[in-house]
């Protein structure tokens, strides 16, 4: 397993700003119940790992510095207890990962087994069809049945449409919203997804910035592309890193179930941080979160941008 978390910022940010200026008036930043109502609060979920990759669970509010477009912000909300997660897990059923379906099912099952009380999840697949289980639930038995009865491999890879549909299915939810993907990462679109908005990566990036979705990607080796083991699509890496989520590449001999355990563990040990932006200009703002506690090699991952929209 190869983890790609500590990637330098890509030059996407300026492009996003330009794009979002055109499509304003959208959604206030995500506001989980812990954040004060009636006040614009930008929520950030931070993963902190030490130099040796272990989660660091004992930081305090004073150990963090939050910068909004380079200006230090007062931390208005800080929690380090477990906040339930809301997950849409998407399983790539396209022909290029068809032979991996047994491993995908086992790994997905491993994640279900690691859901805690209060966590909720729905399971989706994409291939010929894009399908999402209607129930958003923490009921392990139901989720196991979906994995046992509704996994059918084959077809193209309508990746962006599937992510968009999964995000939409969580729109009404508060708190931390996670899209967890198993995929080889190459969108092919699909002629068989009638009625589902035909979106591309830019639209997904906008939703990440506007609505605060965290994207976790478990990258599967493709069995159909040239040489049979093409590297993972870089777009998926950037998307996940920019969202504050993570990207894990499964390689030959790796156990995807172990990867799922790592992701579940991470999601249950994140810091919830909120600040109230002083300027609500409708533009994309860059977020930097730093850990000031002395110590070598502490790494923080959070979303990298938000849209400073006034509350309507």
């Amino acid at each position: 397993m190869v983890y790609h978390g500590a990637m330098p910022p890509r030059p996407r940010f300026h492009c996003v700003t330009t794009t979002i200026l055109i499509s304003l008036g959208v959604v206030a930043a995500q506001q989980p119940p812990a954040f004060r109502s009636g006040v614009q609060t930008v929520s950030i979920f931070a993963t902190v790992r030490s130099a040796d990759g272990r989660l660091v669970p004992d930081l305090t509010r004073d150990d963090f510095t939050v910068l909004d477009n380079g200006k230090r912000q007062e931390i208005a909300v800080f929690r380090k207890d477990v906040v339930p997660i809301t997950v849409a897990m998407l399983l790539d059923m396209s022909g290029s990962v068809e032979r991996e379906v047994t491993g995908v099912r086992s790994a997905a099952q491993a994640f279900v087994d690691r859901l805690w009380a209060g966590d909720r999840m729905r399971i989706g697949t994409f291939g010929i069809e894009i399908a999402l289980s209607p129930r958003l639930t923490g009921d392990h038995a139901y989720l196991r049945h979906v994995l046992a009865e509704e996994i059918w491999p084959g077809g193209p890879t309508p990746l962006w449409q599937a992510i968009d549909a999964a995000m939409t299915s969580l729109t009404a939810e508060g708190g931390r919203r996670v899209i967890l993907l198993f995929t080889d990462g190459y969108n092919t679109g699909s002629p068989f997804t009638q009625g589902i908005p035909d979106v591309g990566l830019p639209a997904i990036e906008r939703r990440v910035d506007r609505e605060g979705f965290m994207i976790y990607v478990v990258g599967l080796p493709s069995t159909m592309r040239m040489g049979g083991n093409m590297p993972m699509n870089a777009e998926m890496k950037w998307l996940s890193v920019d969202s504050g989520g993570g990207f894990y590449e499964v390689r030959k001999g790796d156990d995807p179930a172990e990867t799922m355990g790592r992701i579940a563990d991470e999601l249950h040990h994140q810091y919830s941080i909120g600040f109230q932006p002083q300027i609500l200009d409708g533009k994309a703002h860059k977020i930097d979160v730093k850990v000031t506690r002395p110590g070598p090699g502490m790494k923080v991952r959070t979303r990298r941008a938000y849209i400073a929209s006034p509350i309507s």
């Binding site: 068809e98 069809e129 009865e149 059918w152 491999p153 084959g154 068989f192 009638q194």
Partner: protein
């Protein structure tokens, strides 16, 4: 993947608990089951030639009424994306099993195979779950009813659609039948397969399933897909027909072939359901779920009926 047998065991337990939780009463109510007999045995079967057993114990048969019975049918059609794109056989000829053309022969032939008292609804599942209005053997009404439920792709909430169809038939008169045409790649369901089995046991609806073989280019065979359809049919006293087994040769390849197969299969189903014998009896067993066996002249060979029955009617 959960096997049909495991699902059935769970389902029977669940249904038993539900049935036994009801208040016991004093007098057993009359119950009835439909039984399909070989074609040469369908008419005027004397009741003393039949043996009906619950959990292996013979029951007191009151009457046995042979067909024809008026039918109340839901034709449940899968218009999900996988039906519109059911793989590409060698030569890359894509079959659109969800196209209107596929159903042309069936739609035009239905008035001929229906009786005046028969009623049919079309229902479908894909992006939505649609159950259309009831209609009789009228050509124009049948075409309109079909078009009202036709869909162009989406997921496959097969289990939810079956449960909704069973619920819809609950108050219908006549022999209640669901004919489902699907590739059985169920997705996006609120209900599970076991829920459908449990619901079937509580109803007297027969499920007849028309399934499709795996596409020849599939790298991974969709194991268990058609087994679920077979289990539903067996549980309810219906039949399961796989497209490639229907004629003892290769699966129909062209829309015209497939349309003909559909029409012939539905015709056979309608005849089978219409001509079943209805056995009314007085159950002498406790409330609960019981296995059903029917024998003709002492043999189960040539008889087909539902697998389980809930006795819950002491009045």
């Amino acid at each position: 993947m959960m096997t049909g047998r495991t699902a059935a065991a769970l389902m029977i337990t669940a249904v038993s608990l539900q049935a036994q939780g009801d208040t016991p009463r004093t007098e057993p109510a009359r119950a009835s089951v439909y039984v399909a007999l070989a074609a040469d045995q369908r008419t005027a079967i004397a009741k003393d030639r039949l043996t009906l057993m619950l959990d292996g114990a013979p029951q007191d048969i009151v009457t046995c009424a042979g067909g024809p019975h008026p039918l109340n049918v839901i034709a449940l059609l899968d218009f999900s994306s996988t039906m519109h794109f059911h793989g590409a056989p060698p030569g890359f000829v894509m079959i659109d099993y969800g196209s209107e053309r596929m159903f042309d022969k069936l739609l035009r032939g239905l008035p001929r195979i229906m009786q005046p008292a028969d009623r049919i609804r079309f229902a479908s599942f894909a992006r939505g779950l649609v159950i259309g209005p009831e209609t009789g053997p009228d050509q124009k009404a049948i075409l309109n009813a079909f078009r009202a439920v036709h869909q162009e792709g989406g997921p496959s909430p097969l289990w939810d659609a079956l449960i909704r169809s069973i619920d819809t038939l609950e108050a219908a008169a006549g022999r209640r039948v669901i004919i489902v045409f699907t590739d059985a790649r169920a997705t996006g369901n609120d209900h599970r397969f076991a829920d459908v089995l449990a619901r079937l046991i509580r109803s007297d609806v027969a499920v007849y399933a028309l399934g499709l073989p795996d596409s020849p280019q599939a790298q991974v065979i969709a194991e268990g897909r058609n087994e679920t359809l077979r289990r539903l049919a067996e549980e309810s006293g219906g039949t399961f027909v796989l497209a490639d087994a229907s004629r003892g040769k290769r699966p129909p390849k062209l829309p015209g072939d497939m349309g003909k197969w559909l029409f012939e299969s539905v015709g056979a189903i309608v005849e089978d359901a219409r001509q079943q014998s209805r056995i009314d009896f007085t159950p002498a067993v406790p409330d609960g779920v019981h296995t059903v066996t029917v024998r003709l002249d002492g043999s189960e060979i040539g008889t087909r009926t539902r697998r389980h029955l809930i006795v819950q009617g002491r009045q």
